[in-house]
Every structure is written in C-alpha cells, then in structure tokens.
C-alpha cells in the first residue's frame, strides 16, 4: 500500500539531511526515505513501519554512533528482518566490526564517508535488483 522505505541512520543531522535529499532525487518517486539519528530511533521506525506493513528495503547506517554501533544494529536488523538490505556508510569503522557485519548481517555494501552519490545509488540499486 504505502511506498517502500529506505531507512538512513546517522548521528549527524547534516549527513542525514543531505543523504535524504540525495536519495530522494534518485529514488524519491518509488520509495520513501526515512531518517533516524541513532539505532534506537531507527528501531522505533522499523517497528512502526512493520506495524503498518510498510516494507523497508534498504537500511543505510553509520557505524560510529552513540549507543548501539552500526554493525550491532545491522546484525539485530538482519536477525529480525533478514530481507532488508544493509549498507554501512561511515567515516570510520573497525575492520573487525565490518567483518562481523558481513557475516552476521549479510552486509551488502560498505561505503566510506565522504561518499559519491553514484556509488551509493549503485549500492542501493543493486540491492533493489
């Protein structure tokens, strides 16, 4: 019923805002872009969307955030919603954490900040198939 959702999680508002605008220009017609500033908020949105049977297709998450880190968050997401494509978009990430995310959260892409729009779009597009 509702448009499918791409969820972005980042503790930096500027990043979130610019990310949303960027993704909106590429995928705004077909998907809703939701934003969360931390894993807790994100999980809230996920549950809310799940309640309205709005599918989340992709989650783009920062790694270094206050509270739950990105890898943990994505693993948690994968454990509940294995169909959601997960992408890490971060300024810095522990390699161990990335490795963990790849195995335990079936991480789709790992993107470094500052990112290029094309690589982000490609990552999402490839996920959307």
């Amino acid at each position: 019923m509702s448009k499918k959702v791409i969820l972005c999680v980042d503790d930096e508002k500027t990043v979130l805002d610019s990310l949303k605008e960027q993704l909106k220009s590429y995928f705004g017609q077909k998907y809703t872009i939701e934003l969360a500033e931390n894993a807790e908020d994100a999980w809230e949105i996920i549950e809310e969307l799940a309640a309205t049977e709005t599918r989340i297709l992709v989650i783009v998450s920062d790694w270094l955030m206050p509270g739950m880190r990105g890898d943990e968050f994505l693993i948690k997401v994968y454990q509940t919603f294995p169909t959601i494509t997960t992408i890490l978009l971060t300024g810095q990430a522990d390699t161990e954490a990335v490795k963990r995310a790849k195995t335990d959260a079936k991480l789709h892409r790992y993107l470094s900040k500052p990112w290029r729009a094309s690589e982000l779009v490609e990552a999402i597009t490839s996920a959307l198939g």
Partner: protein
Amino acid sequence: MSATTNVEVVPAARPKASILVIDDILADLTLLSRILSPHGYQVQQVSNGAAALLEAQTRLPDLILLDIMMPEMDGYSVCQQLKADERTGDIPIIFISALGGVLDKVKALSMGGVDYITKPFQSAEVVARIELHLSLRQTQKRLQEQNEQLRQEITRRQAAEEALQNANSSLKEEIEERKQVQADLWNMARRFRSLLENSSDVIAILDEEQIFRYVSASTARVLGYESQDIIGKKIFELTHPDDLPIVKNIINQNLQQGGDIPSLEFRFQHKDRTWRVVEGTSKNLLDDPVVSGLVINVRDITTRRQAEIERRQYHDHLEKVVTERTAELARVNQELQEDIAQRQHTEIILNQQTLNLRSLVEIQRLLLNAHTSPPPFQAVLKLLGQIAQASRAHFFENHLSPGGQLLTSQRAEWCAPGISATIADPRLQNIAYDRLDPYWLDTLNHGRPLIFRNPAIFKQGSPIPGLNLSCLLYVIACAGQPAVIWSHCPGRLPGGQTARGVEEVDVMWAAVASISLYLENARLFQEERRQRHMAESLQEVATILNRSLDLDTILTKIMEQLQRVIKYDDLGVLLREGDDLVISAGSKSAKSAIGFRIPLATDDVAVRVYKSKRPLVIADMHTDPLFAETWGGNKAVRGWMAIPLMIGNTVIGTLNVDSFSVGAFSMEDAQILQIFANQAAVAIQNARLLREAQEQRQIAESLREVATVLTSSLDRETVLAKIIEQLGRVVDYDSAGVFLPEGDDLVLMSGTGFDESNLGYRVSLLSSLPEAQVFHRQQPYIIADVREDPYWQIWTENDPVRAWMGVPLLSGSQAIGILTIDSFKIGAYGEREVQILQTFASQAAVAIQNAQLYQQIRREKQLIETMLASSPVAIATLNLDQTIASWNPAAEELFGYTQAEVIGRNIDEVVASTELRAEAISYSEQMTQGKQIHSFTRRTRKDGYPVEVELLAVPVVVDNEPVAIFALYHDLTEIKQAEEALRQRNEQLAQTLQELRATQDELIQSEKMAALGQLVAGVAHEINTPLGAIRASIDNISQALNETTQQAPKLLQQLSAEQQARFFALLDRAAKSKNLLSSKEERQQRRHLRHLLEAHQLHEVEAFADMLVDMGVYDDIEPFVPLLQEPIAPAVMEVAYKLARQRKNSDNISLAVERAAKIVFALKSYAHHDHSGAKVMANIQDTLETVLTIYHNQLKHGVTIIRNYTPVPPIFCYPDELNQVWTNLIHNALQAMQSKGILEVTLKQVATDIVVEITDNGPGIPAHIQERIFEPFFTTKAAGEGSGLGLDIVRKIVDKHAGRIEVSSEPGKTTFSVFVPVS
C-alpha cells in the same frame, strides 16, 4: 847333531817337549809328525781350529805348529784366541803356511806368532826352528821360576828383619826393666844396710867355726868395736868365761839343729874391757846362700840388770823396816789395850750418871744435825718422854697471827704405845695466848721450867683447851723463846720426885733450850737463807731486768725466785689491762687461768688490794669475814696473800699467793713480798713497756714491710693473697678475709683459715650483718663473742669462731671493701687490734686501689692499644722531640714502614719528602708548643709514592705540659677516589635524569598519542562525517541548481502574481527557518502536516508534508495552503523545495566545514607538543573546550555537559599538557558513567589558584583504591584498554605546574579538582 845339542840344552831327566801340530791337510800332519817324533817330541795332531783350541787348553803343549790356511777357522783366528787365553798365551806358535809373502809373514808375526815356516818346508829347518824356540821357551820359563824364587826370598827376609826388629825392641824393654829392678834392689839393700847400721842391736853373722863374718856398724855404739875389730874373731873370745859353756852349748846346738835360738843372756866384753850383759838370739841361716851362717842379734841389757838389782836391794831394806815397826806397834798396842781397859772401867762408872746426859747429847745431836726439814721433833720428844718416863710429850710453837696476835700451835707429839695421838686436833692449833692459863703464860714470860704436880692448879682446868691433864706435868719454856714444851706422866704423882725430878727437869730444860736454840737457829738459818734468797732473788730479778725484758721470762723468773723466799701452793701475777685485772702469769691452777679477767668494777679481793695499794693477808679464806663468800678462786685455798705491784705510787697489778694451809702467810711474809714485788713491778713494767714498744715497733715494722710487700704487686689477686699473708704478721687470728663490693653484695675475695669453697661467699649490703655495717658506717666493728652478737649470722653449727672484728678498707672517704678477722677466743680483739688492723687496712686499701687502678689503666692501655691497632687511621705517637714512639698497623699500611723501622726516628724524616720537609717541620714546631694541627697535605710512602692525607696532630697534655703528640694521618687517596667516583656517578645520574626526563616527556607524549590513538576512529569519523555531508550537499546543490535554473523561470511565468507572492513567501519562510529539529521531531512534524494537509483535502499530502518539513516550514502553513491547492502545486513545491534545499545544503556545508575545522583545530591543539619546554600564556577555558570538542562525538549522546565557567585570567602554563590532564579526567569520567550521565565541568578561581573540577555522576571510586589511583600502571580497566599511566602523568603534569590534584568520590558524584596557581 841337533839332537845332541838338544840333549845339552834340555836336561836329560826332563821329558821331550810336547808339540801340537795343527793342519787341515792330513799329509802335512803326518809328515810333520814323522819329522818330529824321531826327535823325541810328543806330537799331537789336530786338523781344525776348534779342536786345536780345545787341545791346547787341555794339554798346554810346549809349542804349537799352526797352519794358516784352514777351513772354518784360519790360523790367525786360532792364534788370536790362544794368545787371548791366559793359559795358552805364552805357548810359542810357529806358523806353517804355503803363503810365502812378506806381508803374510808380517801379519803372522804381528798376531803373536814367533816364527814362520813356509811350505814346502825342509824337515831340518822345521826341527831347527822348533828346537830354537823350545830352547828359548825353556830359558824363559827358568828365568821366570828364578825370579819367583828371588821374590819369595825377599819376602821371607823382610819378614825375618821385622821379627828381629821386634825382638830387639822387646829386649830393650827387658833391659830397661832389669835396670829398674836392679836400681830397686840397690835401694832396698841400702835401706837394709841403713837399718842394720842404725839398729840399737848388733847384728852379726857367724860362720860354722863360730867366727864373726859380719858385724853391723852398730857394734861401735853398743860394744865399742869397729866392725873390723871383731870380724875374724871367734865369739867365745869375747864371751865372759862364766857364760862360755852355755853360749858354746847354745851356738853349737844351733849350728847343728838349725832354727832359732830364743833369747839368751850372757856377758860380752866391751872394748873398754868391761863386761856388758847382753841378750842374744841366734838364727841358723847356713843354708841361705847369701848369709850362709848364724845370724846373731845382740842387745846390751846391762842397765836393765843394774836396775833390777837396785830394786831388789830396796825391797830387802823395806822388809827389814816393816819387821822393826811391827814389833814397835805390837808394843804400843799393848799399851793402848791397857789404857782402854782402864777407860772402860771409868766409863762403866760414869755410865749410870751420864745416861740422861747422853739423851741430852742425843737430843742436841739430833737437833744439831737437823738441818733438814721437818725437824726431828718427834725423836726429840721421844727422848724427852723417856727421860721423864712420860706417856706423852707435846711440842708447841709460838707464832704471830697476820694481825700480830701471839698464838701457839702444836707442832709435834710423841705418845707412848697405847696412848692416842692428838696431833690432828684442831683445838691445839692457833691457840691465842690470852686463852692460855696465867701459869703457863708466866712460864712463858719468865722462860723457866715449871713442874705442876697437880694440874688442878690450872684455873681453867687445862692449860690447853680440850686436853685432859691428870698427872705430873712439866711445862718447860725458855725465856724469850716462843717455845713451850710440857709433859705429863700419869704414874708419877706428887711425892718421891726429888733430886731425880730436878735432875730430869734440868736435863729437859737443857733439852728444851736446845730446841729453842735449834728453833732460833733454824729461824735464823731460815731467815738468813731467806735473806740470802731474797738478795739472790732480787739480784736475779735485777739481772733479769738487765738481761731480759721479756715479760714472760720475767714473770717466770719472779715466780721461780719467789718460791725460794716464800712457801706457797699457788701464785699468780695479775696485771691491769684496760678496765680489768688480768691473770698474766701463774703457777699451777693460776697458770691455767692465764688470761682470765677480773673487772676493776667488782669487789674482788685482788681488786681491793689493787685499789688500796696495800698488801693483804688472809689467814683462812674459808672463814674470812670479808671474802669468804665472794672468793671465786680455788676452794682448796686457805691462806691467801696479795701484794700490790707498785712503781712509785702507781699500781700496775697484784702479786697473789695462796696456800692450802690456814694462816700460811704472815705480815712479815707480806713485807718481804712487798720488797720483792717492788722489784718485780719495775721489771714487769719495764718488760711491759719494752714489750709494748717492741710490739709497736714490731707492728710498725711489720706494717712498713706489709706496705712494701702490698704495694710491690699490682696484680689484684696477688695483692689480695698478700694482704692475707701479711695480716698474720701484725695481728693474731684464726681466720681472716677480704670482702669487696660487687653489686649489692660484699663478696669474699680472699682469705685464710676456712675452706676454699667459701671464697665467693656473699653478704648482702642491704642486710644488717656486721660486714655490711662495717662497710656502710666505715667504722670498725668488734664482736667480743659472736654468740652474743645480735647481728651475727652463724655459718655452721659448731663454728669455733667466737671473737670477730671487721674494719673498712678505706680509700679516701670511700669504702672499697672490708677486712675481717676472727678468733676462737672470746674477747680476743680490743682497741690495740683495731688500731693495728685499721693501719693495715689503710695500706691494704691503697694496695687494692692501686691494683684496681692498675688493672683499669692496663685495661685502658689495652683498649688504647687495641684502638690504635685496629684503627683504620694511621696513628703515630710522637715524643716531644718528634721521634716516633709508636706506629700502628694502619700507619704501617699507609706508609709502608714497619713499626720496628721507624721507632725512634724523626717523624718528618720518615714521612715527609724533601720538598714537604719545611712544611712538616713547621707543623712539628707548632705541635711541640702544644698546638693542634689540622691540615690536608701530602706525605711520602717508603716506596717514594706520595699519599694525600688529612693530618690531625693533637698534643697529649698532662698537667698543662705537653708530653707527647698524637699524629693521625687519614688516607685521603680512597676518599679522593671516592669523590671522583661520586662525581662521575653524579654526572651519570644527571645524565640518567636527563634521559629519564626525556623518557618521561616521551612517555607523556606517547600516552597522549595513545589517548589520541583511541580517539582516532572517532576523529576520522568526525572529519569524514562533515566531509560526507559536504559532498552530498554539494551534489544536491549542483543538481538542484541545474534543475531549478531550468524549471524556475518557466514556473514563475506560469504563476499568477498572487501565486508568485505566495511562492516567494514560502521561500522566504524556508530561508528564515532554523533547522532546529531532530529527525524524530521532523517525522512528527511531517505526520502533523500530513494530517493538516489531508484536512485541506489536498493531494500529494505525503510528498508535500515531507518537503515542507525538510524546507523547515511546518508552523503556520495556512498562508501556503491555497498555493498547495493549485493544480500546479507539485511543480511549485518541487522548485521551492529545491531552491530551499540549496540554501539548506549551503548551510549544511557551512556547518560541516565549521565542524571539521573545529575538530582539526582541537586535534592540532591536543597533539601539540611544545619542545621549547617554556610556559606560554594560555586560557584554561580554551584548553577545556579543546578537549570537550574532541570528545564531542562521545559526549553528544547520552551525556549532558554542564559548563560552570567563571572568567579566569590567562596564566603561564603548558597548555598541551593541561589538555592531556582534562582528556584523562574526562575520559575516565565518561568511562565511569559508561557514556551516559551528567558531566560537570567547573572553572573558577579560588584565591591564587585556578581550579578545574571535572565531576561525573558515575558509581564512584571504591574507597580502598582511591589511594592508589595516582600510582603508575594502576588501572581498573581491562588489559589493553588503558596504560595505567594516565593519572600518574596527570599528577606529574599538575606537579609541573606547581599545582595539586584532589579527588573526592562517592557513588553518584566523583570530582577531580585540579589547582593551578595563577602565578
């Protein structure tokens, strides 16, 4: 021919010579044998060398023919071996060989061959040569034999010669011996001759014809003849014709029978023609080859004979005289006998008349002879009784009582048989005259005899109390003589007693007179004797006075002498000693009481005499009214007398005599004794004075010697032993001891008279025992009898000790011990002993003190020596002239000289080299003046090396006079080395410190970088994040710009003016909006807007709401609703959104850049390391903010930061290091809070400090680790999370700012306060 020749040369008796032929060729052998045999040679043949050698050695041929050329052993070899053999070496060898060369011959001859015959040989030649050589051989042999014989001969002769020489020498010895024997014989002969010549006898030898053959020279003397006068004469020619027959007979007999003829007297004519009687003996020595005759010995005995004749004549004369006298005596005898007869007749006549006279004479005789005592009164009384025909006879003697009263006492008694004796009757003793009958008194007073025919006339019944008189009584007295004799005869009552009675009375009177006379004589005699004895005794005493001043001797002598003067049973001399009279000498029982003291305070009888200075005589001690009861002496004593011993008016004692007889002493005795006593007193006093003087001298002498002995040793044990040893010289004791204090005790250190096990006996000084009292009071203590002393503690039950004395050993006013003596005698010690012992003790104390001082000094000396020996400092003691007196091992070590090398040498010459000499000498001069030197200088070792020393020279000053110098050399070599080492060490330390500081800096830096490293992830993130935002925003802007540039103009043309106004109003609102919402709030706004728009029945609600919120337009959207209701609304919204977004993106970029720049700045500030090390002016708040910025990412979620900043002045500090402080504190706070909670940062100024407080509301630091948190490497974090150096470094940095850090913590509030001074 040759044979003949041979025969000539060789003796025919000898066998022909044997020849050994050696040839290997049988033919030659045979040939030679054939040639030689006919010449008579014994030929042996052998065909080889070996056989030849064997043959030659066994047979020893006279000659050998030897072929040279032989197999196996050639002739040369055979020859060589034969020559080498001793047995065969001489055998001539003739070589026979076919070899005819000269060389062969030479070789053969050089081998020892004698000849050489060449084969083929001529038999004649062979024979001739053989003969020649054999003959040579023979000659040779003979010569050898001859030589041998000659040699033997020579040997033999030598032996013979030797034997002869021996014989000669023994002969010479023999001759010498014989000469000696001869000489001896001559001497002997001469002696004999001399003997003969000088003999008083004539010795002659008669031959068988009785002719004199020899006469000794003594003939001339004896008989007047010269020898030649007699020799040749016959003995008979000179013999007296009367004696001729017997002489002839005897000599003939002797000639015939031999042997000896004993002495024969005969007359021999002297040359003066007188006849001399001679005594001759003869000895037949005819068989003696030397004498060969009769040896006659003749002695002149003429004189002897003459004397005998004269004696005989005198004897005859005497006999004649005796005969004549005997006749005369017989005649006289006859006359005498006649006279006696006549006298006997007269006697008989007179006998009857003189019977009484005889008795009287007898009495007188008895009395006259009665010099011995007791007088023979009883015999006299018996005679008297017989004269008076009495039954009894009594003899009374008058005498004076000591009080001068006349008394009479029965002295003797005679009783006829059957009459009982009264002699023992005490009533007949000491009868006072006033108790006598007047008649009796009258008799006595007139000295005439009385005859009482009737005793009844006695008024009192009996003149003698208790004696019953019932018959004739004769009372006879001699006037003036205190003698009374009375007699009574019961059978002769009045009447008939006439002349006879008178006659008897006369006789009795005479007898009594004799008795009186006797008694008077006896008394006089006694008196005389007594006087004499007295004189003698006094003289003796005087002599003793001159001769002896020994009290004991004098006392003994006095007693001895007294015995001669007075009869007594016992005698004692009592002398005053102190407050007592002391029995000082005595005989018998008094002797055993010597030493007994009678106090002068008592009422003793002797004391009375002593005090009254008068003699006292007591007749009977048993009855004396004054003293009978108080008498404490011998109970047997009856008579007693005491004389004061006086010198001038001074009494020194008493002389007491006593007797077992009542009234033994009279005043007269006392007077005599007084004279004696006066002499004795002087003697005694002198003796006492002398003894005292001697004793004092002796004691003084002893004490002097003791002092010498005691101080002769400095060994304490020896001194103690000597004290005891010497003590006996000055005072008598049974045991003695020296006690010295030890702790709270007196300890017996030395002594004598007790078992050695008692040494070490302790007396507590806290006790009140006599020893302790002596020590404490420093006063002597005398105990007369220990059994009476309350303080005495008995050692053993049967301790014989009675008297005791202790004196303190005083050194100055201090007691150093006590000296004790004791005695088994009660009261042995008095004032005298105290004085002596005190004097002695003072010497002993000095000696002990000296010994102790010496011991102490020796210990101190040893201590000093040990100190010197063990001192690490070189020490030399110097005499004042700078010569070395001692040199300790350290000095030996330091200077390399042994003590022996330097003693006596000048110190400066020893240890100061030439260039140091001047300085050293100047020091020495100062030292000599008593100045102390302390200097750092240099001295020289024996090996020439210099040593750095610290010299300390200290003068040793005794009584303000320097006596020696202590020179101490402290070797500074090691100290200098040590100083150098220390300096190097310090340098090293400084360097190490430098390094450490560098390390510390590095450590701080690395800690900082480590902390930074932890932040790197975040930092990268922090930078990359804005970069990402920037890039995305730029992309968005660029895209939006492209799109809006195309779309916006077109859109604006399509819009009405109103719509345009609304459009720009929207843009304006968006531009003015502040993006203050979080994503979550935006979602809420979006949802709210959606509902709002839905309420306006708008389409595209979702998209519009989204865009509006993103544009920042969510309040009061009513003005824009009409626009949104337009059909063109989506396009309008898109353009508006994009335009608005461009601004938003620009703002985003601006924000991101700002953020990135801030982070980079913080990083730069943080990582800054000021290598200059100098403080810079900085604002503390900035440093706090830098750190908070770095931690921004970690702080922005979950941590609330409260900044309590008060403005503070900038200060000089190390800002980068302070950053590190804040970083650490904030980091710790975050970790403690697990990144959730309140972080309070306070900055303020308190007084002169700027204070930064970092407070978190975490669980707090447990109290038990608060103390440790600043320790390096202390951490509560898991391994790898923290270095543990954080707070340590924090504190170091704060210290570096001269500040301090404090922590207070409780759950929910932990505050770290950093104080940094402003200046």
